[in-house]
Symmetry: none
Subunit: 321 residues, 2 copies
């Protein structure tokens, strides 16, 4: 999900953040294990062995063997992956289940998650505490309540963080969609301009040709000039029709896969609405070679047959404001 650009930006921020938080948040109140873990994951030197998850709310040991051999001994007094996992569980980290669809990090990868262990959020680390052992052997009934409470707190925090991430993601997507919509509107306007131009040009050409024919008939010019003029005029109208000369090579192939992409099904949560966008035509601009004043409107499917004379400011699609 994160582009190269974003990653590099994050990397830039990372160093600054590290320098800053190593002195503050990470040095006070953050357990040693958690600090070491954070540094391990943030360390770019072992990027292929251990790294952050794609969503930034988990970390991934991509290669447990290499991790045990080279990374673990750098920070701990053992090279035992099981011991490492034991520590993680003591600090309430949880392994993320590997499903069929979820093999993003490789077959051998182990992904762990803690609500307060997130990329670029060292300030949250101090909330990660070692789980207290239920030493209430003599206290009887309290154990159940405390245990349920702790579990509840953990799960709730996890849910909250997930909701937080989702909310953020939703805001971003919404914003991006608006941006896309505005771009699209601008393109539509520009297309309208183009179309108007072509219509005007069409008319001019018609007048021009008519004029030429008249002149030709009226005058006593040589036959060769007549034929030449007519030929060029015909070519010109052909150009105006957009179908032949100078057609950008490969544009068909560029557009066609997009057409296939279109069929992907429902877009929105619980909505079966169709896209107002490009039709299944395969071309965004319609088949302009068949009609001299081709409609540029790739219209909503509601109006299949648009009257040709209704060409003023066609709306490609309506955008949410």
């Amino acid at each position: 999900m994160s582009t190269d650009l974003s990653q590099s930006i994050q990397a830039d921020m990372q160093s600054a953040v590290d320098d800053k938080f190593d002195m503050f948040a990470m040095s006070t109140g953050v357990p040693d294990f958690v600090k070491k873990l954070f540094r391990q994951v943030a360390d770019e030197a072992h990027r292929d062995i251990v790294c952050w998850g794609y969503e930034g709310d988990s970390f991934v040991v991509k290669d447990p063997n290499e991790f045990s051999k080279f990374v673990l001994p750098q920070h701990f007094k053992h090279n035992n992956f099981a011991s490492f996992v034991r520590q993680l569980n003591k600090y309430d980290f949880h392994k993320v289940k590997v499903t069929e669809e979820n093999k993003r990090y490789g077959d051998e990868a182990w992904e762990f998650k803690h609500p307060n262990f997130q990329h670029n959020r060292p300030d949250l680390l101090e909330k990660i505490k070692r789980k207290i052992p239920p030493k209430t052997k003599s206290l009887g009934g309290l154990v159940n309540g405390r245990h349920a409470d702790g579990e509840f707190r953990v799960i709730t925090e996890d849910l909250q963080s997930q909701i937080h991430l989702l909310t953020h993601a939703h805001a971003e997507v919404t914003m991006y969609m608006h941006q896309l919509g505005k771009q699209q509107q601008a393109m539509i306007d520009e297309l309208n301009g183009l179309k108007k131009n072509m219509q005007t040009q069409d008319q001019l050409m018609e007048e021009f040709v008519r004029y030429l024919v008249n002149q030709d008939a009226a005058s006593n010019g040589s036959r060769s000039s007549i034929s030449a003029a007519a030929a060029v005029a015909a070519a010109a109208t052909g150009i105006g029709g957009l179908g032949t000369i100078g057609h950008v090579p490969g544009i068909g192939s560029v557009v066609s896969p997009v057409g296939t992409v279109n069929g992907v099904g429902p877009l929105m949560v619980g909505s079966d609405a169709n896209v107002n966008g490009a039709a299944g035509n395969g071309s965004f601009l319609g088949d302009s070679s068949s009609n001299g004043s081709a409609s540029l409107c790739v219209d909503s499917q509601l109006k299949q047959q648009q009257p040709p004379q209704q060409t003023q400011q066609p709306q490609l699609c309506e955008l949410p404001h």
Copy 2:
């Protein structure tokens, strides 16, 4: 301890013993896991990975990594060393502690021992049984705990499922937006093609007019025909330039907010990255009246100063993959 001779003899005996005991001791009453384990250890093919201990009363996994990768999957449905160890403990195998003097099998070796798991003694294997869980729990207290837990669990599971649905929906929306972006890019390309066409047409018109004027001057036509042709030609060239006639009013104002919207930040979940999208240029198609081959590129903000000659396949925005 064991010479080559004795080993070969043992190997010879081994096959006979195996054949014999596979039919007797090992096929009746011996748990599957124990049988598999015995065969693994006895298998000479992986002698460097797993083998009997020197005293024949234990077995040694010399290289857990190789063992996990190659040996485990041959007999079990996983390649997880921890799961293997869990099974061993369930059958009451015990790890032999590695002391300073006791590194006979290497630093990474794991040695396990069971009184009835011995070299050349498959007859003992049937004595190895799964440990029975101490199911001495009273049925009384369970209901209470489960009930209080149950209500909570229902709610959290509901929340989790909702989050799961939202996450999925978000992924779909993201993917679809991705596709929309690609479509948009294709449209931009097509627009570029169109514009190029119009420019070509422009040039043709110019040449046409120039030709006509020349013809006109050379011939003995009337003055009126010349002037009329010139007038129409002038109008036509104006069209081709796209900048004056029929230019959609207000396109600047429509497009400019896109630039502002652009600065809005990350598109994706958990990413603090900047938007790669359209820059604040203001027009998708550039100012075509100022430059014959105007760049249509509304470029990323990273490249503020784009060289004018770089006009090939301009990117309106970079989309996350």
